[in-house]
């Protein structure tokens, strides 16, 4: 048997701040058993040149470690065979690196729709006709069961994906997701770039969480190079991350209510969201704050005038938000749609290690800002709201409480803003670094390996949605087709983030 302490006990890892150790097949399989038994949480699973890496989280102690299995024969023992959350990650490894998970329960491709003109583009690449390939959706049998195909082009302004509903009358008996439509080859593009160039690509894994992604990537680079950034940069990064969380939660709360045919909330929340984006633009020169978190610190300092602007925005949200919360809570027609809809089982959330509002609405209190604290959160007081009812309503309430927490954090960060530099140089050189940061939607994992010349050899960023999308399939079961938009919006999973 192998556990996390054994991995920590091994010396010689070049990876910081958490170790990465090589394991053999027997140890790999033993770790899979630990995952299956629920003693460890799968944080990431990704390919490399003739290697697979697995990031394992011990939630009880707040420790993380990476296990790496060399696969010279191009195969590795399937993790998904024992632990279902690994399934799509494994299919991705095979599509991108050509490494085969032996014994995998599902051997269909995931990101590879046979359109790229190349197979295993990041591994032993080989040409492919590139004409597209048929995809077998899982069969559903039974009298009166019909299928509804939806997407990839949807009716609204939304990212593309395909949803196959199997319904009995109005009741959904199975939902199957097929994603990969927005695969852009992001990881391939990051390899060979300087950390500064790669940080810009990292920030575009998922545009709504650009600050969190850039932060995860930059923290991993700084860990790899052993660089300590200035206190003021930490505080400004935290400020940006909370502004991002605030804007997204306000947008989501409005959009969820809108999908329950309650447009008034969307109108009011849309105004508040716009106020946040404008304050962010004044403070950091970009409404979404893209490319503002850079290796070594932040790209732009905040002026006294912009601080006043952010504080005025916070005051306005504090003035306007309570009435909206009351409106949400006291409108029977709205509650009728959100309460009890899209229930997500706490045991699934635990098994999948689902983070963000999806996890916290179903009783999993994990928040990377609290569980594996990093600056500036290690010195800030804040609550992590948790509910156990697990429905659309609970996911709305987690967001409402987090809006209130973020407002407090923003003011606190501004009032205690350290003086000094905002950027230090990151000396070129090799190394490996890992980071886990909390985006508005859950924890983003980052692994960066730098070559000796300082360029990125391999970078992997794992979106929280990897462990939330599969739960959406379970949440819709037994609900009516018409409630899918509501369930989907309350999850608000990223497409681009998982399509890579």
């Amino acid at each position: 048997m192998v556990n996390l302490s054994d991995l920590f006990a091994r010396n010689g890892s070049a990876c910081r701040p958490w170790p990465r150790v090589s394991v053999n097949e027997a140890e790999w399989s033993a770790l899979c058993a630990e995952l299956a038994a629920g003693r460890l949480t799968l944080s990431a699973l990704f390919g490399d040149s003739a290697t697979v890496h697995m990031a394992l989280l011990d939630e009880a102690t707040g420790r993380l470690a990476l296990a790496s299995l060399p696969c010279p024969a191009g195969a590795f023992p399937s993790v998904a065979r024992h632990h279902p959350p690994a399934a799509r990650l494994e299919r991705t490894i095979r599509d991108l690196f050509g490494l085969t998970p032996v014994g995998a329960p599902d051997d269909r491709p995931w990101l590879d729709h046979a359109r790229w003109g190349v197979r295993a583009p990041l591994g032993a690449a080989s040409p492919d006709a590139g004409a597209g390939a048929a995809y077998t959706v899982l069969p559903v049998e039974g009298e009166g069961v019909h299928q509804i195909p939806v997407g990839p082009v949807h009716a609204g302004i939304i990212e593309p994906g395909h949803f196959r509903f199997s319904a009995y009358g109005e009741t959904v008996v199975r939902l199957e997701e097929r994603l990969g439509y927005v695969h852009k080859g992001t990881e391939g593009l990051m390899a060979g770039r300087t950390p500064e160039e790669a940080a810009r690509i990292a920030g575009r894994h998922s545009g709504d969480a650009t600050v969190a992604y850039a932060l995860a990537f930059c923290r991993a680079v700084e860990a790899a190079r052993g660089v300590a950034i200035p206190e003021r940069a930490h505080a400004l990064r935290g400020l940006m991350a909370e502004l991002e969380r605030l804007a997204n939660h306000l947008g989501d709360i409005g959009a969820i209510c809108n999908d329950a045919a309650f447009a008034l909330m969307l109108a009011h929340c849309g105004v508040l969201r716009e106020r946040v984006l404008r304050a962010s633009a004044r403070a950091f020169g970009h409404r979404l704050m893209m490319d503002r978190v850079v290796p070594g610190g932040v790209a732009q300092d905040i002026t006294a005038e912009a601080i006043t602007g952010v504080k005025a925005m916070v005051a306005e949200v504090r003035r306007a938000f309570p009435a909206l919360v009351r409106l949400y809570d006291e409108t029977a027609s709205l509650q009728d749609r959100t309460v009890g809809t899209g229930f997500t089982k706490p045991e699934y959330v635990r098994q999948f290690g689902a983070g963000g509002f999806v996890g916290r609405a179903s009783g999993r209190p994990f928040d990377a800002r609290r569980a594996l604290p990093y600056p500036p959160y290690d010195r800030l007081p804040f609550e992590v709201p948790v509910r156990t009812d697990g429905d659309v309503n609970a996911r709305v309430w987690v967001r409402i409480r987090e809006v209130e927490e973020s407002l407090g954090l923003i003011i606190r960060l501004l009032d205690t803003l350290p003086k000094g530099d905002i950027l230090v140089p990151v000396p070129a050189g090799g190394g490996e670094g890992v980071a886990l940061v909390e985006s508005f939607r859950g924890d983003v994992f980052a692994f960066v390996a730098l070559a000796a010349d300082g360029r990125v050899r391999r970078a992997h960023l794992r979106d929280p949605s990897w462990f939330q999308w599969p739960l959406l399939e379970t949440a819709i079961e037994g609900n009516i087709v018409a409630d899918f938009p509501l369930c989907n919006k309350s999850f608000n999973c990223s497409y681009s983030g998982v399509d890579l």
Partner: protein
């Protein structure tokens, strides 16, 4: 709720004048004339995300909020390409989305315009050169107008859409 609704009636509207530049004001007036001449009373847009990071979509959504209030120009987003005059395309066009984009274009009745919104849709942006993208919408369908930015701001988008109408009239 009554209080909120009442506030909406009594307080000054948040809607701004639109792009505040005088030239764009002129464009806005022209939009009205052009739109009525060619398209009846309105312009209908079908948005297609062909591989964006979702940043462009966030700003396109913002066009509908009380500050920009796209509807007042007679411009609206529709759910089907069959109701659309304009395809608004974002993303470097992932190869996995190329066929869906082409089919959406084919399903849009003529006359139609294509707007490439954002750097990615114009030339692939930061994703240019990847094995998985086509380096912009023009590789898949003809593009009539480009609105640069990463992402373009709502004002950029609004200005571009107004400019499209002027070009459409010529």
């Amino acid at each position: 709720m009554r209080k909120l609704l009442l506030q909406g009636l009594l307080k000054a509207p948040l809607t701004e004048k639109g792009p505040d530049d005088a030239a764009v004001e002129a464009l806005a007036r022209e939009l009205d004339a052009a739109a009525r001449a060619r398209l009846g009373r309105s312009l209908s847009i079908r948005e297609v995300d062909a591989g964006s990071c979702n940043g462009c979509e966030l700003e396109i959504h913002a066009l509908g909020n009380a500050f920009y209030d796209l509807d007042r120009f007679g411009i609206r987003f529709v759910a089907s390409p069959r109701h659309a005059d304009v395809l608004l395309v974002t993303g470097p066009v992932a190869k996995n989305m190329a066929e869906a984009l082409k089919r959406t274009y084919d399903a849009t009745p003529s006359p139609k315009w294509v707007v490439a919104a954002g750097d990615c849709a114009i030339n692939g942006g930061l994703f240019a050169g990847s094995y998985a993208v086509t380096d912009g919408a023009a590789a898949v369908i003809p593009v009539d107008l480009k609105i640069p930015g990463c992402p373009p701001t709502p004002v950029d988008l609004l200005t571009g859409l107004l400019a499209l109408l002027r070009a459409g009239k010529a």
